[in-house]
């Protein structure tokens, strides 16, 4: 039985072997992804991509890799995450002559944060928000206007802006409480458009010209647009933003994980599946939905602030409905309420357009088709949500079953 083989394999593995598995699980996709991004030769990059896909599929299906799956992505999740973080921290140093790839990675990271935010609403709570770009915009504009008009430093504005975005999230959330699914979708679209029009026409937001000369972050006296000097070598300034984004992403992932493995995430899912039954079970669905709006918008606000101070210039065109749909696509493609899935979706939909520059004209068609295909064949996404096993709680045995098993 399942129990026996698990116990058997567990006895066989030493700590070192487990570490090796985690290392492999983290570094293999990492290196392959690196190959996709960094290799200039189109064919080699494609091969790298194919191997990456094979690895991902293999992990899920191949018997050979089953041990990898149960160990590295099961009990050893934390160690795998640490190795992944290590890889992410070291890899960019090999891209010192390729600031463009660094730029792609930074944008992918920002989109990850965005997608994680939308995931709270669409993935966890089942709220169809089609105007998410509005919160992204509020965060970006709030942060940049505070910086340009009041000369506040980035590390202060990036703390204020998300709260402003969260407030706007509540603004949408309240009418949303009284509305059914499609009414809600309509409200979200309308809100997104209202924000876009206001940004385009109000004077203090700069109108169609947006906000220029947004000051970059300054840490310990060094500005982020100055090249990074480490170990005596000079690295492109993107590296500064890369690490900033990496830190923000890690914190976002941590928060996402904490919320998912708690009553908050559980109740969101309950509301998504059956709102009436949830209400009659004692769940305050209104509060839970408002929370989803606020937290999701908060994340979007952070992403917006990051984006604004990285690119240095924002305009309403950066926050159109197309952006809302792309982020939505990331959640649908990657996996509704699966953190790893959402990250994967974000990476795919932000990297693919860069790699397929030649087909830029067809970008939105491809995104739309990808969403449609997903909705038909795999509505739960590439990485469907897994059942909660509460492995993070102290292990207890009842009738011989250990927590954390499938």
């Amino acid at each position: 039985m399942m129990n026996d083989s698990y116990a058997r394999s567990e006895r066989q593995l030493s700590a070192a072997a487990r570490a090796m598995l985690s290392f492999t699980a983290a570094f293999t996709p990492g290196i392959l992804l690196f190959g996709v991004l960094a290799l200039k030769n189109g064919y080699l990059a494609a091969v790298s991509f194919a191997l990456l896909v094979l690895f991902v599929i293999g992990c899920q299906k191949l018997e050979l890799l089953r041990q990898l799956r149960t160990e590295a992505f099961g009990r050893g999740k934390k160690m795998t995450a640490v190795f992944a973080l290590l890889f992410a921290a070291c890899a960019p140093f090999f891209l010192s002559d390729d600031p463009y790839t660094l730029h792609i990675l930074i944008m992918a990271g920002i989109y990850c944060v965005l997608a994680l935010g939308l995931n709270y609403q669409v993935g966890s709570a089942g709220i169809p928000n089609l105007g998410f770009a509005a919160f992204y915009a509020v965060g970006a504009y709030a942060s940049s206007l505070l910086a340009t008009a009041f000369h506040l430093p980035f590390f202060l504005t990036i703390l204020i802006a998300p709260f402003i975005a969260a407030f706007f999230g509540l603004l949408v959330g309240f009418p949303a409480l009284k509305t059914r699914a499609y009414h809600l979708a309509l409200v979200s679209i309308a809100f997104g458009l209202v924000i876009y029009i206001l940004l385009n026409n109000l004077e203090f937001t700069g109108g169609p010209n947006g906000v220029k000369d947004i000051p970059p972050p300054v840490l310990l006296g060094r500005s982020f647009i100055q090249p990074l000097i480490l170990f005596g070598r000079e690295f492109p300034m993107q590296l500064n933003f890369y690490f900033l984004t990496l830190v923000v992403l890690c914190v976002s992932l941590l928060i996402g994980n904490l919320l998912y493995n708690s009553k908050v995430g559980l109740f969101w899912n309950a509301i998504r599946d059956d709102e009436i039954a949830s209400k009659c079970s004692g769940i305050d669905t209104s509060k839970a939905k408002l929370l989803a709006f606020a937290v999701g918008a908060f994340f979007a606000g952070i992403a917006g602030g990051l984006y604004a101070h990285y690119v240095g210039y924002i305009s309403p065109e950066n926050f159109t409905m197309n952006i809302s749909l792309v982020v939505l696509g990331m959640v649908i493609l990657g996996g509704m309420d699966n953190t790893a899935g959402v990250v994967a979706g974000a990476f795919i939909l932000s990297i693919a357009p860069e790699k397929f520059r030649a087909f830029a004209d067809y970008r939105m068609i491809a995104t739309g088709l990808a969403i449609l295909l997903m909705l038909y064949f795999r509505p739960k996404g590439l990485f469907p949500q897994k059942l909660r096993t509460y492995g993070f709680l102290p292990n207890k045995t009842v009738s011989g079953e250990r927590r954390g098993d499938e």
Binding site: S278, L387, D405
Partner: protein
């Protein structure tokens, strides 16, 4: 003298021009099993929907342990101690068996958020205790559900789904349990098991008041201590099963006018 749990006084529910419930009054005391019967469309489920807060009554009062609850939102009524099951079992299909039971413990959401981010140790302690509590309850009704409580709900056979719904309702120790046609679609063997389960509920949760909507008279006859008959939204008879079954008004409601079949 047993304490009153639910007092329904002249409860009326109108949907536009349709009167689904007309001046319904009855009382549910502690440690009692009350059956609500009547032909289809008589307003039984509507009664449950009003008591559980899904609809606000057009007029009338509902008192829970002396406190008026009409007009309160469903989650507040549930937290006060009135839980229910549904005719078409409403479970969270994407969640596991255990998670479904845990949703029955829907305490305040605000502190949940703070706990999730800033007080992990407390969250872990509470969650562990709740999982134990949930598994123990599951074990009372179905050993297999308790042992494989991390499996998806979609794997469960219909009989187990009903038990799961009952567990979800019971896990918070409610004072009142409303069961909406729990025996629907069950064969005689499953029906016997259901009766055992209902007896188990009474034994397990001391003092609980159960209102049971049922069409299967074999259950009603054996389990119900009092029977209320609804027809076209009005109560037409109350009393023991024997008394109600022999009431000509009740027979007419179910079978139509025996002398002039329409």
């Amino acid at each position: 003298m047993k304490n009153s749990l639910l007092q329904i006084r002249n409860l009326t529910m109108k949907f536009g021009g349709l009167t689904a419930m007309d001046s319904v009054s009855f009382e549910l005391t502690e440690d009692r099993i009350l059956a609500l019967i009547g032909p289809n469309g008589a307003g039984k489920t509507t009664l449950f929907n009003v008591v559980s807060g899904i609809y606000a009554p057009t007029s009338g009062d509902i008192l829970f342990k002396g406190t008026p609850i009409n007009g309160l939102p469903p989650h507040e009524i549930a937290r006060m101690g009135i839980k229910r099951t549904f005719q078409q079992s409403r479970l969270c299909e994407s969640l596991s068996v255990l998670d479904n039971v845990l949703t029955g413990l829907g305490a305040s959401s605000k502190s949940n958020f703070r706990k999730a981010l800033f007080n992990r140790p407390l969250l872990k302690k509470e969650l562990s205790a709740e999982i134990d509590q949930a598994r123990e309850l599951l074990g009372v009704f179905s050993r297999s559900m308790r042992d494989s409580c991390f499996r998806p709900v979609s794997d469960l056979p219909p009989g187990e789904r009903r038990k799961l719904e009952i567990c979800r309702a019971l896990v918070s120790d409610p004072a009142v349990l409303l069961l909406d046609e729990p025996a629907a679609g069950m064969d005689p063997e499953e029906t016997l098991e259901l009766m055992e389960d209902i007896r188990r509920i009474s034994a397990l949760k001391k003092g609980i008041g159960i209102v049971l909507i049922e069409h299967d008279m074999s259950i009603v006859r054996k389990i119900a201590e009092e029977v209320i008959v609804l027809s076209y939204g009005k109560i037409i008879s109350t009393g023991s099963f024997a008394k109600v079954a022999s009431d000509p008004l009740v027979q007419e409601a179910y079978l139509g006018n025996v002398e002039n079949p329409s």
